[in-house]
């Protein structure tokens, strides 16, 4: 008990919100964070009409096309939508395999 009170005080001193901190140790996000993440996802699809299936297919096709020319790390390739104001942008982050640029 003493431990926890002291601990709490220290958290407060450091300006750390208890619920944030609890969320951090338990690895759980706050429901507000979850709402924000879910909304981000939903709004992207509402705005663009690109459903997750289409997105996956796009990603596959894109990676296939690129790998015809350079050797890429398929597993850590990321393709995502970026909000810029109310505009959407498709962002691809595709790591090359080491040494692939040297021929």
């Amino acid at each position: 008990m003493i431990f926890s009170t002291r601990f709490h005080a220290r958290l407060a001193e450091e300006g750390i919100n208890m619920s944030d901190w609890l969320a951090r140790i338990t690895g759980r996000k706050s429901s507000a964070d979850e709402a924000k993440e879910r909304l981000k996802f939903v709004l992207i699809h509402d705005r663009t009409d690109i459903n997750p299936e289409t997105m996956e297919k796009l990603k596959d096709d894109l990676l296939k096309a690129i790998s015809n020319h350079v050797s890429i790390d398929m597993r850590s390739a990321k393709i995502s939508m970026l909000h810029e104001g109310r505009e959407q942008r498709l962002i691809a982050e595709i790591p090359l395999k080491p040494g692939s640029d040297r021929r």
Binding site: N17, S30, A32, D33, A35, L39, V42, D46, R86
Partner: protein
């Protein structure tokens, strides 16, 4: 005099369009402005009860559109302000009785005699919403900090921009600072980031709003109401006054900051 036509809409129902329309109308009238508000929610009339004018209705918007009366005959004068009027919605007609061009015509007729025409839009994205937006010079979108209201607000903002009525201005209603503090409600910053629009104001959840609606006296007429103070500040922003937005930091006492940042001298 050339009235500015301002439409209050939301997408989702029940987020506070009518309450906002009534309170902004009263705030503007209180600032000496000549104001008409139009309830464009045909079949689901409500602005009359929020303003406490339900017993005075003789003619309505559909009567004006169908030329059964002159526009002045359908305008109900407010109890508190001589230069505040309501044109009520028809309660028994279907919503197709009015078209977007009818709304443009009615508003054009009002333009010369007033400073503001506030249009209370129905929920949804159908005819009633199109009617409300057609004559608008500016559109205010009301949302609550919850997922469905925000999602619908986003749809509405997209349509408003596509119709060249943008940029939309956002009012976040019913924000509960304690819940935000606990991480159980989206913060205004999050909402703005998600929707990427101008923020016109953040109205905190306030029981006084319901009490005021019970008695048909808009909450801005209660000098001590937090929500009332925010409505007055939003009206000032609509007038072009530079009233700073609150500092969205919930670590400190929220309401202290709200009143300080909004320039209200109250406390």
């Amino acid at each position: 005099m050339t009235a500015k036509i301002s439409t209050i809409t939301s997408g989702k129902g029940g987020v506070g369009k009518t309450t906002t329309t009534a309170n902004l109308a009263v705030s503007l009238a209180d600032m000496g402005q000549k104001v008409v508000c139009i309830d464009s929610d045909i079949g689901l009339r409500n602005l009359d009860v929020v303003l406490g004018l339900e017993n005075r209705i003789v003619y309505d918007l559909v009567d004006v559109v169908e030329e059964r009366c002159r526009i002045r005959q359908a305008m109900i004068k407010d109890k508190h302000f001589n230069e505040l009027y309501l044109i009520p919605a028809a309660q028994t007609r279907d919503k197709n009785a009015v078209s977007p061009s009818d709304m443009v015509r009615v508003c054009d007729e009002l333009r010369d005699d007033f400073d503001w025409v506030l249009i209370d839009s129905p929920a949804g994205i159908e005819r009633g919403f199109r009617n409300a937006v057609a004559p608008a010079d500016e559109v205010l979108v009301i949302t609550n900090p919850d997922v469905s209201a925000i999602r619908d607000a986003d749809r509405i903002i997209g349509i408003i921009e596509a119709e060249q009525k943008g940029p939309a201005n956002l009012i976040i209603n019913r924000l509960n600072p304690q819940m935000v503090k606990r991480g159980e409600m989206l913060d205004a910053d999050d909402v703005i980031e998600l929707l990427a629009v101008n923020l016109l104001g953040i109205i905190p959840e306030d029981e006084q709003v319901i009490i005021s609606t019970n008695i048909g006296k808009p909450v801005v007429l209660e000098p001590r109401s937090r929500a009332g103070q925010v409505f007055r500040n939003i009206a000032r922003r609509m007038m072009g006054d530079d009233v700073p937005l609150m500092d969205l930091d919930y670590k400190d006492d929220f309401f202290h900051k709200i009143s300080r940042a909004f320039g209200g001298g109250g406390n």
